[in-house]
Symmetry: C2
DNA sequence: GACGCTCAGTGACTAAGTTACTGAAAATAC
DNA sequence: GTATTTTCAGTAACTTAGTCACTGAGCGTC
């Protein structure tokens, strides 16, 4: 019941609505690497993440990929549900990056709540709003930002304060929508500057400040 | 009253809802080049376009710009309204590309209709859905598609069957999120292949099939 | 230890973006 | 109607990014 408290946008809901939300939703566990939605797999539930994170990525025909955004604990996957119901020809995929726990709200309940509660509508539109403005900023990044800056940002982001990032050059390239060779070259340059050390399947951060100063450019 | 018929997603609405929609909205005219929304200018209405088109673009700090999408007649500007209410720190701008006629639905009425009508909700979410999946595809284009292909596509799109496109290299570059010099070079190559002819402020299409075959790549 | 697979490094090349100009055409000012 | 300013396009040299084709290292497993 108290999971509602983890979503700031939901605490203001009327008690009746909260009760309905809790009664008619279920808590699900999704193992790591599960495809939550993707081409030919429309989600039947709106997910509110309690634990773990979901990576949403776009695949091109030529096999290249780019990570569009992530949904973390305390966030909702609003658009993936409400959104993908209408268009089956989308090509984005949502993958559980870790074991995920989430509240699953059936589409029917979602629709009822949208009808009944102005606060719930606000919650949903706020989530949409945030996602879309984030996509706008992401497009700006992809179109205009230098790759060294973007890679530095991504490393800082993925490190989350830890010292080591367990990932491959290929995966980093997919994060940025770039090519593996390009990431390798950039990492070599970072290594030359003693900002990182490399080993197979891992990047160790030696000088966070250096990366951060480049990332801030 | 009959403007509703121009929006396929709205014709199925119950008569009461249609009546409310028509009664409580107004038809507005917006002159060309008006900024409809932008940083510090949140829209107070949901717009349904009857005539003309709205260009939505993103400006970077360094003054570069990229056209995100367009809203044409028969389409709704759903997200710009519903979306931007929550986040004031967005940087996208919506500009009337021509004189625009539109139905303006006040936010309050929008919210009421969302509460009252399942069909209206479907209409709104379909519009969101389309926009977001389009943004996904756009990101894929920007990240992975070659510039000559994208330019050819854009020329075909902007021509709309006409022979001449009145635009500058600078504006074409902004469409693609590229640089003016790059567009100039590509247009020279197209000119060399006798696909286009150039004059100041205009591109004339000589061989549409040529452009289309490159665009299809 | 041999085999296969994933991951990373390299060089040569092409494509795209940047910088710093030049000159032509159009708009406006006088 | 000429002069000035502004906008638009062309160019060369250079840097950054993406592509192609290959090499070899690390690691699991048979």
């Amino acid at each position: 019941m108290d999971w509602i408290e983890r979503f700031p946008g939901l605490v203001a809901l009327e008690l009746v609505i909260k009760a309905q939300l809790v009664d008619e939703s279920s808590i699900i566990s999704v193992p790591k690497d599960t495809v939550i939605f993707g081409p030919g797999k429309a989600p039947e539930h709106l997910l509110l993440l309690l634990q773990g994170s979901v990576r949403v990525q776009q695949l091109s025909e030529k096999g290249r990929e780019i990570v569009l955004y992530r949904v973390g604990a305390g966030e909702s996957c609003v658009l993936t549900t409400a959104c993908l119901l209408a268009f089956e020809d989308y090509s984005a995929t949502g993958i559980a990056e870790s074991d995920v726990e989430a509240v699953a709200i059936p589409r029917q309940v979602f629709d009822q709540l949208m009808a009944l509660s102005a606060d719930f509508r606000r919650f949903v539109f706020t989530a949409y709003s945030k996602r879309i403005t984030d996509l706008f900023l992401f497009i700006e990044e992809v179109a205009f930002q230098r790759l060294d800056v973007r890679l530095a940002q991504k490393l800082v982001e993925l490190a989350e304060g830890r010292q080591q990032i367990n990932t491959t050059h290929q995966k980093l390239a997919a994060e940025l929508g770039s090519a593996r060779e390009v990431v390798s070259r950039q990492l070599q340059e970072f290594q030359r500057r003693q900002w990182v050390a490399q080993s197979r399947g891992a990047v160790v951060i030696l000088n966070l400040a250096g990366l951060e100063s480049l990332a801030a450019t």
